[in-house]
Symmetry: C3
């Protein structure tokens, strides 16, 4: 079964506490839950979570069977799991209680050149085409209609959503000035995707021209993103929807690129840099500063951009402006 | 037959007049037409339309069998249908004369988990994958290689163009600071698409995280659009190509978002608001004003943006600038 | 075999010289090579190239079997091919030595309405759907999961990467003000793609509404691009990734649109114009100037934009700003 919803699993709160590092009063340890839910729609079988007092109040008043709450939540006559990071604990509980996984195996309509290179527990959905020499690790989910070109390597625990194209032929041409036309530059490199990478629907990642394109461990990529040839992306990087990365860019560990960000060719994004939505970086530039937010085109520290915008607004309002 | 062109149907002008609310002189009521065309290429079997005097002149001089013209068009010795809105009448005539519909039924290469939930007259093209529990109404066209995840609900008369992905797993993670990695937040909500919605090629719409994503009746979405989890879109909204909508946005009835517009998370767009091409709205903001045009990043009323740009241009041209 | 990597072919340097217009010393004319590579990873069987002195030094010190160098490169006791444009020669050599071609023929899972209209040497990959009346020339590569609507015409030597959608139904509606809803305007025109056009993965190109959309000979289109109905694109135009072209635009020969550029409706881009990344052009505007670079929204000559930005930056830094 492909594209299945979540299969709820039953567990005692003592188990949930163990998965999430939470504590639960002994009297509620045997309470059983089977899934996660929003507060408004939770039933007695669901766990919900709250990060602040107001939400906690709503959660406690809901039908939920259990509430994951911050450590300092007041005592309740109700099943409460206390933990430092309720949202993180909720996510960890959900991964166990409501796993969303396609069935392992290769769908009969998939065209897979080298099935022996595909790891155990990995699911290859309908309509997928996988070229020769493609290695895919264990417990990956390759959703329907994904296309993976020859020689691409994918690690363990990766998820590739429908319609993504991996290892495609990069956009490189040499202008033949005399003939007045464009001649393709060879695109014979490869693409390496490390472990725990998620790739969104209809995202495209080109292979290297002569070397490789690489996506580091734990990096998460949203829908409709484009990553060009020879790009090197570090670990635990976030690329939100519709981001566009030009050729030969380097994005270091932990950077966050919000939706529609665009990088010109050969841009370097330092570790932990945050680029606001629709920000743009000129070709060849470097943006650095862990945890700092940059915005605009060309991207600059957000407070500089804010000051400029305030200045413009003020000047434009002057009578003689 | 999938992806078919228009199948021309023969009709008398009296019938066309009835479909479109137009009037036609009795002597031309029995003239037969079989399709619609541009003025330059029209044949005797085609209807064309004109909204102004210059176009009308060209239309009357063309080979077209009939001309849909404004109410105040001068009398002609030629088949003319008079109507308040010629373009609208032309569109209505085309829907009858040149229907573009795939054959109802499920193509043998489609993978459909619950075919009993698919309505009468609906067409499911080659290479489509539809997960369990997906409900699709009547007279829908699901074009090739569309992927619909479990539990999505689609109304009547919807069109989903090739490669669109509906109900995909949203981009939500919790940063596990200690482990230095991102943990998936559960994406176990659903996606509801109401009646008469059109969705463009390679557009992606994520399911809700815990609740739902919803696309209101009559809304039209172009190619390459991204709609994130928990977004609520009202009725008769227009999303042009490559628009990106971040998580938990609300877009009210009748809003128009031109190409490449981007909304940050939790943005509210009021009823009837028009966002110009590539406009951007900061996370958490609200843009309101029915029929008003907003542009730039952050989006502001277009005349304010124009004034600012004029001021900048003037200052930059001063000798000491 | 679909999505195959490059199949290396053996050739003597005398042959490579002939293909590329290079000269090679007689003593090295019989040296055999089988592929192209980056300098860092080249083996004795590979050709590499260098365009400047520093790179040439690295190339000569590498394991590469032969080096394509500029005409003025100093004499070497090593296989060197001398040519005016080393990068162009390298590309031409690669096309012969490392051809990347899918096998000609139609994959069994493709759904092709009119196979008799498909030219010799053309490859149609798995999961492709091609509507009735579609003509495809010789030696084209139609990669997996491409969808081509009825009546589209494609020339010789075209490449269409996975997930591209050609001739889709354009985004045209008439607002029925009384009913408060949008009625589809007929999209019954066609799409003509001339010879030697490359189209990237998940790119969408709509058919004309009543007339045609046309992509001129030698034009190269990257991934995730959107081209709307009635657009006319000239010869040898470059559209980089995520470019969006609204309806009825005209782009003349040799124009270059960098990543994420957006054009409003009915825009004209003159021959040889270069639009920088994320530039935007307002509906109805014309941008002209062969070889000139334009940037920003609305796009203006890059030096004007730079002057404005410098002025803004200076003003914002003043104490009273």
């Amino acid at each position: 079964m492909w594209l299945q919803g979540n299969t709820d699993c039953m567990a005692k709160l003592s188990e949930v506490a163990e998965w999430t590092g939470a504590t639960v009063a002994a009297e509620f340890a045997a309470v059983e839950v089977t899934g996660v839910a929003a507060i408004a729609t939770a039933t007695l079988q669901d766990i919900v979570f709250a990060m602040d007092a107001a939400t906690l109040e709503r959660a406690l008043a809901s039908d939920a069977g259990a509430v994951i709450a911050p450590l300092d939540a007041p005592e309740q006559k109700r099943a409460v799991l206390r933990v430092k990071s309720p949202k993180l604990a909720f996510a960890k509980a959900a991964a166990k209680l409501a796993p969303q996984r396609a069935r392992a195996g290769i769908h009969s309509s998939a065209v897979v050149d080298s099935p022996e290179l595909i790891g155990e527990g990995t699911s290859i959905g309908p309509g997928v085409t996988i070229g020769p020499g493609v290695k895919i690790g264990r417990n990956c989910q390759i959703f329907p209609n994904v296309v993976i070109f020859a020689g691409v390597s994918i690690g363990d625990n990766c998820m590739v959503q429908p319609g993504a194209v991996l290892g495609s032929i990069g956009f490189g041409y040499v202008h033949d000035v005399e003939a007045g036309e464009y001649i393709p530059f060879p695109q014979v490199g490869t693409l390496v995707i490390e472990d725990n990478v998620d790739i969104g629907a209809n995202t495209t990642i080109d292979r290297g021209a002569l070397e490789e394109t690489r996506i580091g461990r734990g990096t998460k990529i949203d829908n409709g993103v484009h990553v060009a040839h020879n790009v090197r992306i570090g670990r635990n990087v976030i690329l939100a929807a519709q981001v566009g990365i030009s050729g030969s860019c380097t994005i270091h560990d932990g950077a966050i690129l919000m939706g529609q960000v665009g990088l010109g060719e050969r841009v370097t994004i330092g570790p932990g840099v945050i680029l606001g939505g629709a920000a743009g970086v000129y070709p060849g530039s470097t943006v650095e500063g862990p945890g700092q937010v940059f915005s605009g085109i060309p991207a600059q520290p957000v407070k500089d951009q804010m000051r400029e915008m305030a200045m413009i607004r003020r000047l434009a309002k002057k009578p003689n402006a």
